[in-house]
């Protein structure tokens, strides 16, 4: 009973938030609504007793959208509306038809859900974190490790990019100091 109420509240909030993300022309509204929507999604995880995933949803997305805000700050005047240019209407039509089909598929999914079997059914008296750990380090070990390597590559690339710039800035500062001292 309470779960149903909670589900509908969170569902309405999430849909509302994400429609603001799509409809709004103000970058600040869109980003704030995105952050709100992501946090409301964690509500569904909490309703399903998947506490760990819910918390991870909050932590990961709050950090990720924070980075998005940083980009927004750099590229837009966030207090003004952004005027969008729509180059071709074909893309808009194709996307809207595709999303309509997707919606139909999602609404039809419950008809087939009785035939779905859980590969790793819930074990009684085992915590959420432990269960995720079990699946992650047995069945999904290879994708997990691959993701780790990908992140490592991205990190090294980031360090290389930033360190080049840092050397340059350092030299600029030294030049400035030299100039000050009249060398």
């Amino acid at each position: 009973m309470y779960e149903v109420i909670a589900f509908y509240v969170f569902a309405a909030l999430t849909i509302g938030m994400f429609s603001i993300v799509v409809m709004s022309k103000n970058a600040l509204y869109a980003m704030s609504a995105l952050a709100g929507g992501m946090i409301f999604i964690s509500g569904f995880f909490f309703i399903l007793d998947a506490d760990f995933l819910g918390v991870v949803q909050i932590t990961v997305y709050s950090g990720a959208i924070m980075a998005l805000y940083a980009f927004g700050m750099m590229f837009f005047d966030t207090t003004r509306d952004v005027s969008e240019k729509m180059r071709s209407k074909k893309i808009a039509y194709t996307l809207s038809i595709a999303s309509a089909v997707l919606l139909v598929v999602i609404f039809c999914a419950p008809f087939f859900s009785q035939k779905i079997e859980a590969l790793y059914p819930v074990i009684e008296n085992v915590g959420n974190v432990q269960m995720i750990g079990l699946v992650l380090f047995t069945k999904y070990l290879v994708p997990f490790e691959l993701a780790a390597i990908m992140l490592l590559v991205a990190m090294i690339a980031g360090i290389v990019l930033a360190s080049k710039k840092m050397d340059g800035e350092w030299e600029a500062i030294e030049d400035l100091e030299d100039a000050k001292e009249g060398r």
């Binding site: 309470y2 103000n26 600040l28 509204y29 704030s32 952050a35 946090i39 506490d51 760990f52 918390v55 991870v56 909050i58 932590t59 709050s62 950090g63 924070m66 980075a67 805000y69 940083a70 927004g72 700050m73 966030t78 207090t79 915590g127 959420n128 974190v129």
Partner: protein, 330 residues
């Protein structure tokens, strides 16, 4: 019927937590002024009530009755909601914190925790970090250069301290094998020698520093430092909206104090003849005092120094700490 009882119990607990921490936060502002005055050989607030205690009430009345000014060019809804975000996240984070040991009233056992989820540490830290959205949204919607600078600093600071606090807390969690704050508390049940601070001194230090950054306390108060960015994100705010930021900051201070006390300093276990609840209050008071002491003692640092110390000193130390802990555990 059982459902109803749980809902009523939770509502009562939530109300008590909200009221008590908001009250404690308000009281902490007076304590802060008094302690700082004492350390700087001044008197602090003295005129309203005995030793200036009623200054608190006077400030409260002023904040509540002040005109709610919303400047002309701001993004109105975001500007209005930002302080609410700052205050609510600070209180929502407290939902998973066990404040005291359980006790019995009229034959009814009460667990002083609003919701006992088994990933409490992650939950509290995650929600508390969402609190950075308050300053961020405030700064970006204010249409003011100083506010924008404050918001930019908030992003930078958040991305830096999140890594340190997350990695530093990992080592103790590896030793305990649980993310529940109650399990962490029970792990340190055998007196002072069992406190995790002795087994994980480095993690304790790193987590405490990250806590100072998270609550924007000096020496890491870069986002609202008067000498550099006027008042940072809060430049355009006045009245109760500004007050909400303040309430959020003090609630966050209490959250961090409680978290450090539970994870590293034995939590609410009783010690010698001192009962657990009193122990907890003593530790939290000590931590609040430490926040003020540090503010009086240390100068504030620049944002680039903050990033430097986070990424080049604290993060490698945290990673090394995890590695050593892993080897010892194996």
């Amino acid at each position: 019927m059982g459902d109803m009882a749980i809902i009523i119990e939770t509502l009562i607990k939530a109300t008590i937590v909200l009221a008590v921490t908001a009250g404690m936060g308000a009281f902490a502002t007076w304590i802060e002024r008094k302690v700082l005055a004492f350390m700087q050989r001044r008197l602090g607030p003295m005129h309203v009530g005995p030793y200036g205690v009623l200054q608190l009430a006077a400030d409260g009345i002023k904040l509540f009755t002040k005109e709610d000014i919303i400047p002309q060019n701001v993004v109105k809804p975001i500007f209005m909601i930002a302080p609410v975000v700052a205050a609510t996240t600070a209180f929502v984070a407290m939902a998973a914190i066990p404040f005291f040991p359980e006790f019995t009233v009229f034959g009814y056992t009460i667990h002083p925790i609003v919701s006992d989820i088994n990933v409490a540490v992650l939950y509290v830290m995650g929600v508390a970090s969402v609190g950075v959205y308050g300053p961020l949204l405030a700064g970006m919607s204010s249409a003011n250069k100083w506010s924008l600078l404050g918001a930019a600093r908030a992003v930078v600071q958040m991305l830096s301290f999140e890594v340190v606090s997350g990695l530093s807390i990992l080592a103790p969690i590896m030793m305990i094998g649980s993310l529940s704050l109650i399990d962490i508390n029970d792990y340190q049940i055998g007196g002072i020698s069992d406190w995790l601070i002795w087994k994980q001194p480095l993690a304790f230090l790193l987590f405490a520093m990250a806590g100072f950054m998270e609550t924007n306390r000096s020496p890491f108060d870069t986002i609202e430092f008067e000498a550099e960015v006027v008042s940072g994100y809060a430049t355009e705010y006045s009245g109760m909206r500004w007050g909400l930021f303040f309430v959020g900051e003090y609630a966050n201070m209490i959250t961090v104090s409680v978290l450090v006390s539970i994870i590293f300093m034995g939590g609410y276990n009783s010690l010698w003849f001192i009962p657990g609840a009193l122990m907890m209050l003593l530790k939290v008071s000590f931590w609040i005092f430490l926040f003020l002491w540090v503010r009086a003692a240390w100068p504030h640092i620049r944002p680039d120094q903050l990033m430097w110390v986070c990424w080049k000193v604290l993060m490698p130390l945290a990673v090394v700490n995890i590695l050593i802990t892993g080897f010892v555990l194996i």
